[in-house]
Symmetry: D2
Subunit: 337 residues, 4 copies
C-alpha cells in the first residue's frame, strides 16, 4: 500500500500512521526526494480496508500497489529514479553508455580500450575480474589484480567502473574498486547475494535471467531495495529462445514493459543478446529507440585477441560509429547523449 500524507501533516500524525501499519505487520519505506511524504507499507501484514487508512489524520491518499514488486513499482514512485554516481546520472534525460571488454586481461588491453570507449562517449567502463564460466576449466578472471587494473585505468580516463560480483563473499573486496556492482543473469535469483547487496551503498545493476519474466526480474530488484539500497538499475540482455543464428533473443518488449511498470532505470546489453559483432550495432540502436536509459556494450581494442567473447566485441571504430547514431536516435525519442 502507498500512503501519501497531506502537506500539512504533523510529525505526530505521521508517526501514528507508521505505528498503525507496523502494528498490522508491515514495514514502512519512504520514497526518497518527494515533495510530500510518500510511504510504502510492505511485507506480509494483513491489509486493512483502504477506508480505515484514508481516515487517519494527516493522510491525503492511500491505495494498493497492484504489482508484486512494491518498492520497484511506479505505483510507489511515479517518476523514473535517477541514480547519480559522480557526475553521471543513470535514468536522467541523457542516455548512458557503459563499455569495455568482457574480461580484464592486461594493462595494454585496458588502457587502449578505455581510451577508445571514452572518446566515443562512454562514461562507465565495464570489465570482468570474476567470470561466471560455463566450464570449470575455462579462465575464471584475474580477481583482485584485475579490479586494481580497471580502477586505475578508469580513473586515468575519468570513467566509472562496473564489474560483476558472483558471491556475497566478494562484496567487501569489490567495494574497494568498483562504482557499480553488476549481478549477472545466472545470479539473478541468488537471493543470498541480493540480500547482502541491499546493505551496500553503491548502485547495483541486475541483469535479467535467461528465462526470467519481467516480474521475476523486478522482484530481484525488490530484494535489494527492500534490504535498504534503492539505487538499483535493471539490465535486459536477451532471453533464451530456439533461434541459433544469435546467442539469445533481445527482448525489447520487456524494456517497454519495465519502463512502464517500474521507476528503475533500464539498461540494455546488446552484446550478449546478439553474440556476434555485426548484430550488436542494430540491436544497440533499437534499444535506445525503444526507450532504454542506456547501454552496456562489449568493446575491445583488438577483439580477435580477446580471451573471451571476442566474436561479440565491437571494434573501436564500430563503437564510435554506433555512438554517433545513438546520439541522433536519442534525440529522436526526446533524450540526449
Amino acid at each position: 500500500m502507498v500512503i501519501i500524507l497531506r502537506p500539512d501533516a504533523t510529525p505526530e500524525q505521521r508517526h501514528a500512521v507508521e505505528s498503525r501499519m507496523r502494528e498490522l505487520g508491515f514495514q514502512i519505506v519512504l520514497a526518497p526526494s518527494s515533495p510530500r511524504v510518500v510511504m510504502a507499507a510492505v511485507g506480509e501484514g494483513s491489509m486493512p480496508p483502504l477506508e480505515e487508512i484514508r481516515a487517519l489524520p494527516g493522510v491525503a491518499e492511500a491505495r494498493p500497489i497492484p504489482e508484486p514488486f512494491k518498492l520497484a513499482s511506479r505505483s510507489f514512485r511515479e517518476t523514473t529514479s535517477v541514480i547519480r554516481i559522480g557526475n553521471v546520472d543513470i535514468g536522467g534525460p541523457s542516455v548512458v553508455i557503459m563499455a569495455g571488454p568482457c574480461t580484464i586481461e592486461s594493462e595494454e588491453q585496458m588502457v587502449r580500450t578505455a581510451a577508445a570507449v571514452r572518446s566515443a562517449g562512454a562514461t562507465v567502463m565495464r570489465g570482468g575480474a570474476f567470470k561466471p564460466r560455463t566450464s570449470p576449466y575455462s579462465f575464471q578472471g584475474l580477481g583482485e589484480e584485475g579490479l586494481k587494473l580497471i580502477r586505475r585505468v578508469a580513473d586515468s580516463q575519468g570513467l566509472l567502473v562496473i564489474s560483476e560480483i558472483m558471491d556475497k563473499s566478494q562484496i567487501s573486496l569489490m567495494d574497494r574498486y568498483v562504482d557499480i556492482f553488476q549481478v549477472g543473469a545466472r545470479n539473478m535469483q541468488n537471493y543470498a547475494l541480493l540480500r547482502e547487496l541491499g546493505k551496500v551503498e553503491r548502485p547495483v545493476l541486475i541483469k535479467r535471467g535467461l528465462a526470467a519474466t519481467v516480474d521475476e526480474w523486478l522482484m530481484s530488484a525488490e530484494y535489494v531495495i527492500s534490504g535498504g539500497n534503492d539505487r538499483v538499475i535493471v539490465c535486459e540482455r536477451g532471453v533464451r529462445a530456439y533461434e541459433t543464428y544469435t546467442r539469445n533473443t533481445l527482448d525489447l518488449n520487456a524494456v517497454a514493459v519495465a519502463k512502464a511498470i517500474s521507476h528503475l532505470p533500464v539498461i540494455v546489453d546488446p552484446s550478449h543478446a546478439a553474440g556476434v559483432r555485426d548484430k550488436v550495432v542494430p540491436l544497440a540502436r533499437a534499444a535506445i529507440a525503444a526507450g532504454a536509459d542506456g547501454l552496456l556494450v562489449e568493446v575491445h581494442y583488438a577483439p580477435e585477441q580477446a580471451i573471451c567473447d571476442g566474436q561479440q566485441s565491437l571494434y573501436p571504430e564500430q563503437f564510435a560509429a554506433l555512438t554517433a547514431q545513438i546520439r541522433l536516435i536519442a534525440e529522436a525519442v526526446g533524450r540526449r547523449f
Copy 2:
C-alpha cells in the same frame, strides 16, 4: 550454386552452361536486373565439382550457396531487392509504412482510418477481409464485400492495399482487389498456398510463424520465389515466449539476421508483437532503428469500437506522433521516410 557469366559470354556459352546444369538435375533461375548474367542452379541435382563449372567457356565465377534458401539468399543476390508497386518502393532507401485496422468493418471506419494513416505518411493500407480466428465462433471477416470496400477507400486516398489470404482457393478473388497478398503467421508453412502464390504477379508478404526459425521463414519465401514469383517481402511479428505482459516477443535479432543473409525486404509488425497499444510505439521505433525496411501497424480511428484487436490499435494521433519520430530515426540510420 551461383554461376556468374563473363560480360562477353555468348548466348551459346550461356545455353551450354544452362544445359549442363539441367543435365545434372538442377533448375536454372536468373537474378533479375543484374548488369551481368547471374544464375542460380537450384534443386536436388548432384553438385559437380566447382572446378568443372568454372572451366566452362563464358563462366566468370561459380560458388555454392551455403544457405538452405537459395534464391532468397544474399549469396545469390547481393543487393536488397527493391519491390516497386505503383510508385512505392519496398526495400529501397525509404522506409515504407503500411497501416490500417485489423479487420475491415464499415465504410466509416475505413474512410476515417484511411485519411488518418495517409496524412501521417503511410502509403499502404492494411485491413483483413478473411480473418484467421482462433475460435470458429468469432467473426470471420466481411469477405469480398470487405475487399471491395478497402479497394475503393484506398484508391480514393492514393494508398496501396495489403490483405491476408488464408487459402489458395481465394487467390483469384483477392487478386482483383489487393496489391500485396499477406500470408499470416499461422499459414507460414501452408505449402499448398505458397506454391500457388509462386504463380501470381503480385508481391507476397510472408509473416514469420510463431515459432519459426529464420531459416524456416526464409524457406517459406523460397517456396514462392522458386515457384516463379520473386517479389517477396518477409515480416517479423513476434515469436511466442513465456512472458505474459505482452502477446508475443518482438525478435529484432531476426530482423538483423534476415537483412544480413537474405536480399528480401524485411518489414516489422509491432502491433501483434506487443498486443497492447502503448508498447507498439517503442517497438515500432526500435524496428526502424534496427534496420527494418518498413512497418505494418494497426491503426483504427476509434480503437475502442474495433471488432477485434482494438487494444493493440493505435489512435490516429499516436500514429502521427510515431511517424514523426520514425522520420528522425530513419535518418539516423541512413534511410528516409
Copy 3:
C-alpha cells in the same frame, strides 16, 4: 452452455428449449450416445441468465462451459470419446498404436514395414503421400500412387490407414484411400482446411502446432467438431524449445492437461519429438505412462535407406521390444494393449 433435459422431457419441451437458444443467437449441438438429451448451445449469442434456462419446462440442468472450446470440452461430454473405425477403438480401454514410415516410398518398403508393425501389435499404418517439406527442393511425396500403395498394403495386413492432408483440395482424393485424415503441425491453424474436414465422415487427427498452447490445439479441434465432424483425435508431437540434442521437446504436461479438460482421445508422436531413434523408445513408454490413448510412431524396415526421417525411424526389432514394454505399462496404468 450445456443444457441437460430431464429423462421425461417431451419432444415439445425439447423443441422449445432449442428454439429459445436459437432465438438468442446460438447453434445447438447434441452430445452423441448419451442416455439423456445433452445439448450445447454454442456461438456468439448473448448468454441469458442460467435461471431463465433452468426454469424452462423439461430442463434438468444448465451450466456454462468455461473453456473456449465448447464441443471439445469435458464440460460438455464427461466421458472420453471412443472413436470406432472398423474394429479399432481409439480412446477406449485399449491403447492404439499407429506405425509406419515417414514417407511412402515403394512396394517393398511398405510390405515389409507393414508386416513388421502388424506383428508387433500396431493396428493402424501411417505413411505420407503428400509431405510438407521445409524446402521446396525436397521430395514432396508420391501423391495418389502412394495412397494406392498404402491402402493395398494395409488391407493385406488388416491394418487401418492414416495419412497427412495438406490442403482442402486433397480431401476428395484422399477420402478414397485413408481411414483417418492427419492434419500436420504446420497446418494446425489452417482454418480453411479444418472447416472442410468438419464436413467429412472420417475421423481427423490433429497434431499440435510447434508452439501451440493446449487451448489453441483444442480450438483447432473445435473447428472440425463445430463443422459437423465430432470424430477428432488430437496428437502431441513435441514443442519447439531451445535444446539442440533433440528435435523438439515432448510435452507430456499437455497430454495430462488435454485429457483432463477435453473428452477427445489424445495420441502421442514420440518420433518427431525426439528426432533421434534411441530417444523415441523412452518417450513412447513415457507417453503411455502419462495416460495417452495411443502412439503414432515412425518405423521403417530399413531406416538407413529411408528417404526422409530415417534417423528417427525405429528398426522393426526395436519397435517389437517397445510394444512389449508398452503392454506392461498400459496395464500398470489401468489400460490394455
Copy 4:
C-alpha cells in the same frame, strides 16, 4: 582425454603418464571403482596427438572426450554411477523416491508426512529450511530449527534427508543435518556455491535451471566433480515454456539425453514441473517409464494447510497409489522399486 592403462601397467608407467599430462597443462582424475586404471586428463592444457599418448608404455587406450563435461560424461565412465548413502543406492537397479513437503513447517507436519511417505516406499525425505522465494516478503524458511526437525523426524522413520542449500556460507551448518545437498534451479549456475560443494563429502543433487540446456546442466555437475566430489545426482524439474495450464514443462527428452551421455543418476521432480497436484501423478509415472533413476515429489499430510506449494503437493493416499503404479512401471522397464 580418457586414458586407460593396461592391466599389467606398472606404478612407474602410470606415474610417467600422469606426469606427461600434467606437463601439458592437464589435471588427472581417476575413475573410481574401475577394474582397470582409467584416468581423465581435464583442463585447458594443449591436447597432444593421440598417437603420442597411445605410444606411452602401459597405455592401453587413449581417446578424446567429445563432451564439454568431461568427468560427468559416459565417455569417461561407461556405467551409471551408483551413489550409496546408508543402505540406499541412487543410480542402481532400484528407483529411489524422495518425498516430503516443500517447506519444513512444524513437528506435526513432519511426523505425519514422514510416516506417510515412508509407508508408501520413499527412502529419502525432502523439506526446505532455506527457501528461495521470488518475493523478499514471503516466508523464507525455518533455518536451523527446520533442519533439526527434519533430521530428527527422518531418523525416527529410517529415512535419509535432502534439503536445499542457497549459499556457500550455509555448507558447514547444513552438513550437520542433511544427507544430500540440493542445489535449486535458480542456483544451478551459482559457481561459487558449486565449487565449494566440490569439497564436501556428501552427495549433491543439482536441479536443472529453468532454461538450461542439457550441456549447461551437466557442466554444473562438472564444477562439483572437478572440485573433488564425484557423488553428483542431476534432477530434471521442468523448463520454462509458454503454456499456462501448468507451471513448467517437464522435459523427458532431457532425461533420455542425460542418461545417454552422462553416467550420473538422473532424478525427476514432477511437482515443480506440473505445479498442480493432479498432473503430478501422470508425470511421475512418465518419468520412471522414460528411464529416470528416481523421483523427488512433494507430499504433505494436509496440502490445503501448507505454507507454500500446497496446490502441487500430493495427498498421502495419492502418493501411495502412485508408488503402487511406479512399482509396475519400474518392472516394465527392467528396474525395481
